[in-house]
Symmetry: C2
């Protein structure tokens, strides 16, 4: 009775804390997203308007200014990353997918990621801010969970539950913030990150991502009144919605063939992208980045200069195009007014003329995407310009990926995809002249196909695209394109995140076990390694030597008591030892919170611990740190089943025990239906026969 | 090498078959949905136009015709159910949620459900067709999976994989068909049905539900050209979309309070609904339905007559309302033309008048919902009429639930919810007169709140509502309302499906383990029952006697071989014995397909088997039916962990073995990263250090 009451109170308490945390995580991520957006928009807007002003007098001076502003922004980003937060480089999604990565959820990583993203995206590199936003969401969730853990005096078991939830929810908030797509965010987390899932968690995740969407929306409303500089009209998802919603109303069966072609192109280019980035990253890792931070900085600077030269120089070689007949209804000005967003960038052209290459190249990426997606602008771009841009930007994206700056792949992927999508759309327009076709629709499908071919996401990508365009009619088309591009891509290699995780040695489990596992047993998977046991009370020096000689952190512990041997497990995942090296003298008995805490602090490695010889000779009682009932599998269990256990339960290690020759009992579902004491009526009801229906 | 090749071929083959099945399931479910919709719309349309014609001459004759048509339809439904397919009664969702229910996926259940739904929905009872559609999807998926299994000579292990997938996907297609909400359908399956999930499955499920949406859409387009009688304008989701999209554009902070009130009302009324239906169903089960089918038929007929009397009689007592000032832009006629759909039903009123109670009561439910949700019709309904309708319809829904006809709870829930939602909306309109408020928006929120308070679904309900209205702006509002209504409802009792499943003794595991499980071990949950072993070779008579004396179907099998004892498990879930009673002579050795097949055939129970004494003395070798590596847990494992194993892996039974005192080995995630032979380059890469990043 007493216990049940305590249980209910505890449950209520933990539920409230979890909801509050979900709320705070949502608000925090949304604010970070808004901050990054405002900063990038302002830096970029200021950069372009300054450049435009200067090129009225001198192209060369304009180019120099443009290049140096880019260089300065990128330099600030790479400096932050190399000096301050090395774990903040890259997109962060592969690292979060793997559970074991160190230092990925630190506060310094969060700060580095935010400011690094501003620099790298504002500096015009061929990368996006969406991947980093996902990582930022993860960091915020992790840090808030940590803060909560000490502040509210939560018990350690509760914290464990929460810890395992944490790195799931977070991602969602990032995606939701990046695209303002709450449902897509939830599905993204579901599809990309988690191998296990609980329905009550989904509801909280959904709540968090809706909070993000609401906060971002509110901030945007506030910015529209002009309080955030250039930001007001600069948020990707929102404008896109309005443009595309006035796009193509319906589609006909003849269009399915060119759409399938887009899918195939997406699969091929996506697989090629994954392969190229894999090789380049491998080369970089083994030859370039070993030489230290200076090389990394120089590399990024070279990439920045190349990007500036191409994006400024190429439009110069393009002849100007006369503006199309003005259409009063479309509301699109040509050329656009200086300092504004929109289609038809003037660049060096005269009055009533525009430069189509500059419209996509000499522009922020959000703007370029909006222009590529735009409806009612048939023949805005020439095929030659689009092809030039495709080749150049693809190459830039490949060499930029893997440099030491925060780099998302969503926006570059959308850019590449929408470029060839629009190219295909142009051919379709000239081929089926009677139909009501918008090139913007094809650009959207192209974007979906490239992301599908590269990242191999499916459901979540569909839903994100639908949420971006706010139009359910395109769902079957997007799905068709994704089906094809994913199938084509899968024929060549794995998804971008999986390739990168593999490169970094992050152990990601694929969603399905390998075929040969069917004939293998658990024992075979263990290999021939010697099993290292710990006794319950152990010498510190033994712990250290064992940890040094093994590359995993979980060990079986056998305790010899009067009632026989008890098997349990100790996990040094979060901290190599239950003491903190910086505190000087080693407290042998530590309270549990401090042991559990270092999840997202520095992530102590064994080598950081320096103990006096006296300390080393002391004994430590592992009892408070033991997992008393670890998951075990019998040695003859099929490896496929073991694999599913890892995936479904999100395990790190599992103990293999000898097969049992005796059964103590059997648990069925009905044995688990324990009723609360007060529900005696219900128990009585339940005893009526099952099948007399 | 050879094995890897075979494995790849096999994988490719099974993938292709699965996709084809997904396609067929989608098409089948969509066609069933379209058939039911067309039939119901035509029956109901014909019924109402006939009645309207007759009441021009005599109200009494009109009432008699109305009542007898309803009675005939309902009678056909209950006759089909009681005589032909008893498992098709009710909504089917609680049965599908529980894995163990017998006879729920038969072909006769499918047929009974389709025709029973047409009768019960066409007959005007207070129930819906959405729940049955979910069940129909499940049946179609199950039957197609079966057909595939024998036709394509699939191996049994493959079939097993597919079997476990099957009853997940299906549901989705039903929801997708019911609401044309593919994303919501996927999330519904995720939230309501499955305790375990795999991401590649999600993609296929999504594909199936998109197929459903496309097929239904195509059929609707075909029907709009007038080829399906009344059907053309009668599909719920489609019209709703158009109406609501022109609804309220934005919302202000003052409106959050009345919206919260809607949430509270929804929680209270939903919990009350669950409690009332639980008691009534309990009473029915124990007293009424035990007396045989005749009582069931009489019961349904009485309910039908009461429904007819109330829905025809009450509007007669309501005075007519003059039509509002015509608004040319709204396009809503008042009164609507006879035989058409729309607001402002004339009933017995004169020209330029309408009867507001008849508009919601004397109408098909789809139409009534459309009228309740409709925007730009402020003051169409009087508060008195809405209140009358709410009380009456709520009572009707409670007594109708649990009768022996197919009965969904979605549509009645939406009706009840939108009624009080619109009531609250009316007060808000008169209170905040300046704001641009549409009563239809409040009706939508009310519907969400009642469904949330009764079914306790969250994410999927949100998404379904958003997909119905095709407007993402309402997402935060719907979420707020659902949060409140679910929390309020949870304070009183469990969700509708859980209550019903509990009543029928279906063992559903809640999403979270009970608190007291934390201190219990696996051994305690087994209770004191004696463990029954099977040897590998066993006498038939022993099998039968053991099966009769136990109420579960899984048993440990111990085989004494030279290398010691081997523990495995045999599961008589699908068929009590590996032979078929109807075949006359008992084939002791049966091939595997026939053993596995009876999943969705009649579902043989032990009592159906009649064996000769000779047969009983024969021995049977269980070897082909064994599960050689069953999941086991040590006796001292915490029950919380056991619970999670059941949930995450979707287990039926688990064996409890003595705790191990020795560890054979340890498997980490990296041990599971077995590379294909050709990927030697990748393996080499992987061996580079993890942390030199």
């Amino acid at each position: 009775q007493e216990q049940a009451k305590r249980g209910k109170l505890y449950m209520a308490y933990s539920v409230v804390v979890k909801w509050i945390l979900a709320l705070l995580i949502g608000i925090g991520t949304a604010l970070a997203a808004v901050f990054i957006n405002i900063s990038v928009e302002n830096f970029a807007g200021w950069k372009y308007s300054l450049t435009f002003n200067i090129i009225q007098k001198s192209y060369f001076a304009g180019f120099l200014v443009y290049m140096f502003i880019n260089l300065a922004l990128v330099l600030s980003s790479v400096y932050i990353i190399t000096q301050f937060a090395p774990a903040a480089a890259g997109s962060g999604i592969p690292e979060i997918k793997g559970i074991d990565t160190h230092g990925i959820l630190l506060f310094r990583t969060l700060v580095g990621k935010i400011f690094g993203s501003i620099g790298s995206v504002g500096g015009g590199l061929a990368l996006g801010k969406e991947g980093p936003l996902v990582h930022i969401g993860a960091c915020i969730a992790s840090l808030l969970g940590q803060g909560g853990s000490t502040k509210y005096h939560l018990r350690s078991r509760w914290l464990q539950i929460f810890t395992s939830e944490r790195d799931r929810r977070d991602l969602v908030t990032g995606v939701a913030a990046a695209f303002r797509a709450p449902v897509g965010g939830v599905l993204f987390a579901l599809e990309e990150v988690t191998s296990w899932w609980r329905s009550q968690l989904m509801w909280r995740v959904f709540f968090t991502s809706a909070i993000v969407a609401v906060v971002v929306r509110t901030a945007m409303g506030w910015c529209k009144s002009g309080k955030c500089g250039h930001f007001g009209s600069g948020v990707f998802a929102c404008i896109l919605t309005k443009i595309l919603f006035s796009g193509q109303e319906d589609y006909s069966f003849q269009e399915l063939l060119p759409m399938a072609v887009i899918g195939v192109i997406g699969g091929l280019l996506g697989a090629l992208f994954n392969q190229l980035t894999f090789y380049i990253a491998h080369w970089r890792r083994n030859y370039l980045h070993k030489r230290g931070n200076r090389v990394k900085v120089i590399e990024v600077c070279i990439v920045s200069v190349i990007t500036s030269v191409i994006s400024f120089g190429l439009p110069l070689f393009k002849t100007c195009t006369p503006c199309p007949e003005a259409d009063a209804n479309s509301g699109i000005e040509c050329p656009r007014r200086p300092g504004m967003y929109g289609n038809y960038v003037n660049f060096y052209c005269g009055n009533k003329e525009y430069n189509d290459l500059a419209t996509i190249f000499f522009n922020t990426q959000d703007d370029a995407i909006r222009n590529l997606f735009s409806a009612k602008t048939i023949h805005e771009f020439s095929a030659q310009s689009l092809l030039t841009f495709l080749v150049m930007f693809y190459s830039l994206a490949v060499i930029t990926f893997g440099t030491a700056v925060p780099a998302g792949q969503f926006v570059p992927g959308i850019m590449i995809g929408s470029t060839y999508g629009r190219l295909v759309g142009m051919f379709v327009v000239s081929f089926y002249q009677k139909l009501n076709i918008e090139e913007g629709t094809y650009a959207l499908l192209g974007a979906a196909s490239f992301l599908g071919g590269s990242m191999r996401m499916t459901v979540s990508l569909c839903v994100i695209m639908v949420e971006i365009t706010n139009n359910l009619k395109f769902l079957p088309l997007i799905m068709l394109v994704l089906l094809i591009s994913k199938a084509v891509g899968d024929a060549f290699n794995e998804g971008l995140y999986e390739e990168q995780a593999r490169l970094r040695g992050i152990p990601l489990l694929e969603s399905r076990p390998k075929y040969q596992m069917r004939t293998m047993t658990a024992k075979e998977a263990c290999g021939h390694q010697q099993v290292v046991y710990f006794p319950r009370v152990v010498k510190v020096v033994d712990v250290l030597s064992i940890l040094r000689s093994n590359n995993h952190n979980g060990f079986p512990v056998i305790d010899h008591t009067r009632s026989g041997e008890t098997l349990s497990k100790v996990d040094f995942q979060h901290s190599p030892l239950p003491f903190n090296s910086r505190d000087g003298p080693v407290p042998i008995r530590h309270n549990l919170t401090e042991f559990v805490k270092p999840v997202s602090s520095k992530g102590l490695s064994i080598d950081d611990i320096h103990l006096t010889p006296d300390d080393l000779e002391m004994y430590i009682d592992l009892a408070p740190f033991l997992n008393p009932s670890p998951y075990v599998v019998p040695e003859d269990m099929s490896l496929t089943k073991v694999y599913n256990l890892f995936r479904q339960l999100g395990l790190r290690h599992i103990l293999v025990v000898p097969r049992a020759s005796r059964v103590v009992g059997m648990i069925t579902r009905k044995d688990l239906l324990i009723e609360d004491n007060e529900d005696t009526a219900a128990v009585e009801l339940q005893s009526t026969s099952v099948r007399d229906h």
